[in-house]
């Protein structure tokens, strides 16, 4: 059985150590927040200038001055801190965040990330903080389906979409397997209802097994 998105979010959350400062990218990675231990074991960072971000508010408590990177209303945990944008991105670029979790179109076997632009001629490009997050955190996790809807692998030898960062991804969580990006290549860390041989066949990549 492959993993559903909620189950995969729980697995990513399990691998984030207590005491970490974490940024969850917009989209699917925000689901990870639902599975982090309750309270202040992990401190969430949002690029628009806050540490100690809490969950969505009750509908009658929506504060337009208190939003996350996806511009959704959030809450403030005890111990929260606000700061301006240059400080917020210095936190990322300066390597102060322990983990960031990002979605992706493609990840290469060397850890190149493509997640901001499809390269389609009629697309309006928007990059936001993706390039800063990709190169800044101590550990960069990607969370995505292993295949596109039409069955094309998203873990690839070389990205065909425009890059967000070069060699920046440390680990790839997918619905079928978890991969570590290492200097020796991709190492399969866990599989969900498949085998490493089946994954080699599917992706056409030289995968190593976790020992």
């Amino acid at each position: 059985m492959s993993m559903g998105r909620q189950e995969l979010a729980a697995i990513v959350a399990r691998d984030i150590p207590e005491g970490s400062y974490v940024n969850l990218g917009i989209g699917i990675p925000t689901l990870v927040g639902n599975y982090l231990p309750p309270g202040d074991a992990v401190i969430l960072h949002t690029e628009n200038g806050m540490l100690g971000m809490g969950p969505a508010p009750e509908p009658d408590q929506v504060d337009p001055d208190l939003i996350n990177a996806g511009k959704q209303p959030v809450t403030e945990q005890a111990g929260a801190a606000y700061f301006h944008h240059a400080d917020s991105f210095a936190m990322m670029r300066g390597g102060h965040l322990d983990v960031c979790v990002l979605g992706a179109f493609q990840v290469s076997e060397r850890g190149d990330l493509a997640n901001w632009h499809t390269g389609a001629p009629d697309a309006i490009p928007a990059v936001g903080g993706a390039m800063d997050l990709a190169i800044g955190a101590k550990q960069v996790f990607v969370m995505m389906d292993l295949l596109t809807r039409d069955g094309t692998p998203k873990v690839v030898a070389d990205c065909t979409y425009p890059l967000t960062g070069v060699g920046c991804v440390d680990r790839i969580y997918t619905d079928r397997a978890v991969f570590d990006v290492t200097p020796e290549g991709l190492v399969v860390r866990e599989t969900f209802g498949t085998t490493v041989d089946e994954l080699r066949e599917l992706l056409g990549l030289d995968l190593k097994e976790n020992r």
């Binding site: 001055d65 939003i67 928007a126």
Partner: protein, 236 residues
């Protein structure tokens, strides 16, 4: 020190000329100086270059300025959103120029301008389309891209309170680009919910010192606040 509080929004914006580069604070709608933008539309300056994180949301504020066709070029990190229909239409019709900048580079370029930095090497964007044609350098084994400061003629920002000298405090994530834009512009105009008496702001908590602020406009408390405190009703 003479008070920086303007008698009217129109007076505060009166120096803005056609062709100006204007930084506008805010991240999405949070911290967007809506009253200043509305007054800028009224004021009539056109052929503007706008620096903002986004390219307008919905039909109001920055989106309304774009819809009024006053903007020649926008410098931002994230134009395309679910409610960026005004920008999307202008861009697809070739009626607005876009300079797309990674958000951290946008922030640091603005900060560098205010801090008098000539240029800086950043790892962000290395090896991507957004660094094409830019100078790169390897420093201690890591590749970096050379980026230049981003200055403006004017900054329009929003804060919670000001004193008569333009010392500012902000509220929550509405702070975002306000402090760095205030320093990067030749002339900074801040709209605030209320102007408090000199000495009423604790000097330890002032975020933007008044040296960066030229004009202050009081616009009144927003509907979700009472005396600066969130009242927890459905925000309008």
């Amino acid at each position: 020190m003479k008070s920086k509080v303007s008698e009217s929004i129109a007076a505060a914006l009166s120096e803005i000329r056609d062709g100006a580069t204007i930084m506008i604070g805010g991240f999405g709608r949070a911290g967007q100086p809506v009253e200043l933008i509305d007054a800028l539309i009224e004021q009539g300056a056109t052929d503007l270059t706008i620096v903002n994180n986004n390219a307008g949301n919905g039909e109001t504020g920055l989106a309304a300025l774009l819809a009024a066709r006053r903007v020649r070029k926008i410098v931002c990190s994230f134009p395309r959103q679910s409610d960026s229909q005004v920008f999307d239409g202008l861009y697809r019709a070739g009626l607005i120029e876009l300079e797309l900048v990674p958000q951290g580079n946008l922030a640091e370029r603005i900060r560098a301008a205010g801090a008098g930095i000539g240029a800086f090497f950043t790892p962000t964007g290395y090896g991507t389309l957004l660094a094409e044609g830019k100078e790169t350098r390897e420093i201690d084994g890591r590749p970096y891209v050379l980026e230049y400061p981003l200055r403006a003629d004017f900054a329009l920002i929003s804060a919670l309170h000001s004193d008569p000298w333009g010392n500012l405090v902000y509220r929550k994530t509405a702070r975002n680009f306000g402090p760095i834009m205030a320093a990067a512009a030749t002339t900074t105009i801040a709209q605030v919910d209320s102007v408090v008496e000199l000495g009423a702001l604790d000097p330890e908590v002032i975020v933007t010192p008044g040296i960066y602020v030229d004009h202050v406009v009081e616009v009144g408390e927003r509907p979700w606040l009472r005396d600066g405190v969130f009242i927890g009703e459905e925000a309008s």
